[in-house]
Symmetry: C2
Subunit: 145 residues, 2 copies
Amino acid sequence: MTPRTWTDRQCPVARTLDLVGDRWVLLIIRDAFDGLTRFSEFQRSLGIAKNILADRLRLLVENGILRRVDTGADSRAHYRLTPRGEDLFTVIVGLRQWGERNAFEADEEHSVLILEQTGEPLPNIDPVRADGGRIVARDTHVQKV
Amino acid sequence: MTPRTWTDRQCPVARTLDLVGDRWVLLIIRDAFDGLTRFSEFQRSLGIAKNILADRLRLLVENGILRRVDTGADSRAHYRLTPRGEDLFTVIVGLRQWGERNAFEADEEHSVLILEQTGEPLPNIDPVRADGGRIVARDTHVQKV
DNA sequence: GGATTCTGGTTGCATATTGCAACCGAACGG
DNA sequence: CCGTTCGGTTGCAATATGCAACCAGAATCC
């Protein structure tokens, strides 16, 4: 899971970006959350060059974010999210909701993430205090180790 | 704010990545949240090549995520987050918390994001239902427009 | 106030990464 | 069987990145 050298040993943001901080990687993970598992499905969905896709899938498997599943019935490759990969759900939702708020004009349509139980769009996620108040950047600071 | 062509017109995740889906860009934004504002501060903090930093700062200003501030007292450039940039706080926190959970060994130290009012680390952020239950990817699906 | 340093870049060139198209063997489909 | 799809690999061209040198204007030193 560990790159030979981290960009910044102490910073969790930098470490995360060393593992998944690449446009294609994050779009592959988005597609994996949408249920895509096959090499060709990712390739068609993203329009990514095949050598780059092969490289990124290999890296994601090496880093424990996807696992390669070879079933008996179908010997071709499937790629599925590991628990560590599933844990990126919050990040993908954060990117999606920021885009919804900041990258579309008011009259533009976009795809929506729906919660099955209610049929409604997911509520916005935000850092909140124990009392429910929203936390903004000004309320925080990074404590270096 | 709009790239000439979006990777995927309908998907908010793809649009967000078109604007900030670059390792350096996200690290610049992280540093901006930590209070850095000067070209030389970003350059020293990140060890990024100066031409690349100049390019990324220009793009971030064009995309309305940073604004260039020239004060009378100090005519040198300062770069500060716009409201749209501040709104990325949730994304940066999500990346940070995923890294804390998944990119460090149990005995490894890392920097910590502290909430001023309590002096304690920020609680984890996650998508939650109205009843407070955590939402996982399986509970959701993307509705295409 | 003159010299020196710092800042915020730009430019040119070498190197690394990406994209594209062709190719390939194994597996499937009819 | 014969053609097609799948999951790649390979070689080459185009693009992006990194590095070092350079530069003008502002600030600092003395």
